[in-house]
């Protein structure tokens, strides 16, 4: 595969490849993908610092250096991390690769199906709503239990027949097992 084609493949996949040289400097081995442009522009005239742009990598590089040094594995993959790029929050992942005696670092933008944010957002919103409903039901149960106790206390007193009948109806209604709708209130 030609170098140009490889560069195009990296661009198409929105990957950014770098090589860690023996003197510990890091050089790009592929053109910067479009998502990196706002980050490079934000750096302005100051020399681009990987750790400054992506503080997460400062930590990950320790793991990568250990892998490159020990040679125990050929790849270490980071967890996902977010980085601000202009107004966007990019979701990224880093991979450190040991390719023969060369040490390579690849930054990958997670998007489309690989970006779990929309899915997790919906799942967690649903979970919060479900938790809220459970709390409401619990509060309702407490209220009903109190009403049942009060109705029982009322029935223990002297009551005219009409009021007794009403108190008995209240007692029966609020004592329905949870989840049951009293027959008189069922639709149809």
């Amino acid at each position: 595969m030609s170098v140009d084609l490889l560069a195009e493949v990296m661009q198409a996949l929105e990957l950014f490849g770098m090589e860690r040289r023996p003197d510990s400097s890091i050089v790009a081995i592929s053109p910067p993908p479009p998502w990196l442009t706002p980050i490079l522009e934000a750096a302005g005239d100051t020399p681009f610092s990987l750790a400054q742009a992506f503080p997460f990598l400062d930590d990950f590089m320790r793991e990568a250096e250990a892998m490159w040094h020990d040679g125990a594995a050929s790849r270490v993959v980071s967890g996902a991390f977010t980085a601000a790029a202009g107004a966007d929050q990019l979701l990224l992942r880093a991979s450190a690769l040991a390719l023969g005696n060369r040490s390579v670092l690849v930054l990958e933008r997670l998007h489309g199906d690989a970006d779990a944010r929309p899915l997790l957002q919906r799942a967690r919103e649903n979970k919060l709503e479900s938790e809220r409903l459970v709390r409401q039901v619990d509060a309702l149960k407490t209220t009903l239990a109190t009403a049942a106790r009060l109705a029982e206390a009322l029935l223990d007193t002297e009551l005219p027949p009409k009021q007794r009948e009403l108190a008995e109806r209240i007692s029966r209604t609020v004592s329905q097992p949870s989840g049951d709708v009293p027959p008189s209130t069922r639709p149809g």
Binding site: D59, R62, A80, L91, L120, R124
Partner: protein, 171 residues
């Protein structure tokens, strides 16, 4: 300059991101936006005459969908265990995360943050469970990322403890 890594740990939607936003940018948004992976913010402050840069690792909330990766915790000098006062189960999650963090970073300072103090009337947290967790060497602080109450003090408290080299046994 001293640099310290702090991890924000807790269940989902307890307010970790909001606490960081309030502390770093004095911003609060009512909209819940879930965190995936980790987002790192920096804040410099002077504590006891020492300039410190805090690297705030806002780690996604743990739930049945995602378990916090231990690699995120490595190198942490301290952590905030965030609990949503209105959601009882978030205390159990915090207790589990405290155990995980201990396995990775050992005896480092941590603070239990009882967040959403502006909703105190709706609080459901089990006080006994809270004190049981605090007995392991942490202070409990009440915060509201919404109003800003207690937020700055919480980060300062943890920073002081980190600078003093206080761990669970020495706090």
């Amino acid at each position: 300059m001293i640099q310290k890594k702090i991890c924000m740990l807790g269940g989902f939607a307890v307010g970790k991101t909001s606490l960081v936003s309030r502390f770093v940018s004095s911003i609060f948004s009512e909209k819940y936006l879930t965190t995936v992976g980790v987002k790192i913010d920096k804040k410099s402050l002077v504590v006891g005459g020492q300039e410190v840069t805090l690297l705030l690792w806002d780690v996604y909330g743990q739930d049945e969908f995602q378990t916090v990766q231990q690699s995120y915790l490595r190198g942490s000098s301290g952590y905030l265990l965030v609990v949503d006062g209105t959601r009882r189960a978030t205390l159990d999650t915090a207790a589990k995360l405290h155990k995980s963090a201990g396995e990775v970073v050992g005896d480092v300072p941590f603070v239990i943050v009882l967040n959403k103090a502006d909703l105190e009337a709706e609080w459901q947290v089990d006080e006994r469970g809270l004190w049981k967790l605090a007995d392991q060497g942490a202070r409990i602080v009440r915060t509201s990322a919404k109003t800003g109450a207690g937020v700055e003090e919480t980060f300062l408290e943890l920073t002081r403890a980190m600078l003093d080299g206080r761990g669970q046994d020495r706090s």
